[in-house]
């Protein structure tokens, strides 16, 4: 059953990823991105990261892709890009070579470190509501032994607001800076800043 879930979600992820790259229409690329994001969310659920799966759907599929579609519609760039035009003659072969080499190196690194025994760094993932330090990390517990459905969220919250609380506060600063920067970037300035449209906009 887990194998079936893995295969189906992997097909969703890889199919959506290829669709993002090869689709000529930006709207179609955005919809392929939604397929990939849902597949990643399924993978998160399969690895018992329940909270992150929910956040993945809400933030990525719900907010970021909608933002993409909104910008596509706002700018009226919803027209096809002719992929057969290759502006630089060597660009695509070089990109293909680079991609294959990158994936080959990554997979070689992953496979070569596969048999190194994993050290238990933390206190164990408390997915089932009971400490799982003694369980070997490679063993996937079946889903139906989960007795406490909030354990993942509770453990994530303890780590986030305990060990990582300073980084959490910094993200609030980052979000404020991003919002202020976007407002300044996209407003229409009457006095003619370099980024504004200098009045040639209706």
């Amino acid at each position: 059953m887990q194998l079936v879930v893995f295969v189906v979600a992997t097909l969703m992820v890889v199919g959506g990823a290829v669709g993002v790259v090869v689709n000529r229409h930006p709207v179609h690329a955005a919809l392929s991105l939604v397929l990939t994001l849902f597949g990643v969310a399924v993978h998160f659920v399969a690895q018992e990261a329940h909270f992150l799966a929910a956040v993945q759907v809400i933030v990525y599929a719900g907010a970021i892709v909608v933002l993409f579609l909104f910008v596509i519609m706002l700018l009226g760039v919803d027209r096809s890009e002719d992929l057969r035009i290759d502006p630089l003659p060597v660009q695509r072969p070089l990109a293909a070579v680079m991609g294959v080499g990158l994936v080959g190196l990554l997979i070689a690194a992953i496979v070569s470190t596969r048999d190194i025994p994993a050290r238990a760094l933390g206190g164990g993932l408390d997915v089932a509501g009971v400490p799982s330090v003694d369980a070997p990390p490679e063993v996937f517990r079946p889903i139906d032994v989960v007795v406490d459905h909030d354990a993942n969220i509770r453990q994530l919250g303890v780590d986030l607001f305990g060990n990582q609380v300073f980084a959490f506060e910094l993200t609030s600063v980052l979000l404020i800076v991003a919002v202020a920067g976007t407002v300044i970037l996209t407003r229409k300035d009457r006095r003619g800043s370099p980024l504004s449209t200098d009045g040639d906009e209706p």
């Binding site: 496979v111 760094l121 799982s132």
Partner: protein, 105 residues
């Protein structure tokens, strides 16, 4: 027989590597800045997947916390990047990646 084979974290890491490679190739070959941003999102998702797989393997919740921060940074990055793209495409409708060279100070 089929149910006996369960995915190990190595499978997830290989899948993440493949998706990262697809995203990297997309960044290199596409010319529409919006699609380039989508390919960057693909790469971020591949990294998130490997974070969760390694969190599972090492028994440490810190990987999932890192995914949380990646989500926040990705949201902020998309907001600022799309703001820049809106500003540029208002002046030059139909601009592609080469026209973004005017960002050079």
């Amino acid at each position: 027989m089929i149910a006996a084979v369960t995915p190990t974290p190595t499978w997830y890491l290989v899948l993440a590597a493949v998706v990262f490679g697809i995203g990297a190739v997309g960044v290199l070959v596409r010319r529409n800045p919006l699609v380039i941003f989508m390919c960057i999102e693909l790469m971020l998702n591949a990294v998130n997947l490997s974070f969760v797989a390694l969190s599972r393997r090492l028994g440490d919740i810190g990987g999932q916390t890192a995914v949380f921060f990646v989500l926040v940074v990705a949201a902020a990055e998309v907001v600022v990047g799309l703001g820049i793209i809106v500003s540029i495409l208002r002046r030059h409708p139909g601009a592609n990646a080469d026209d973004l060279a005017e960002l050079r100070g």
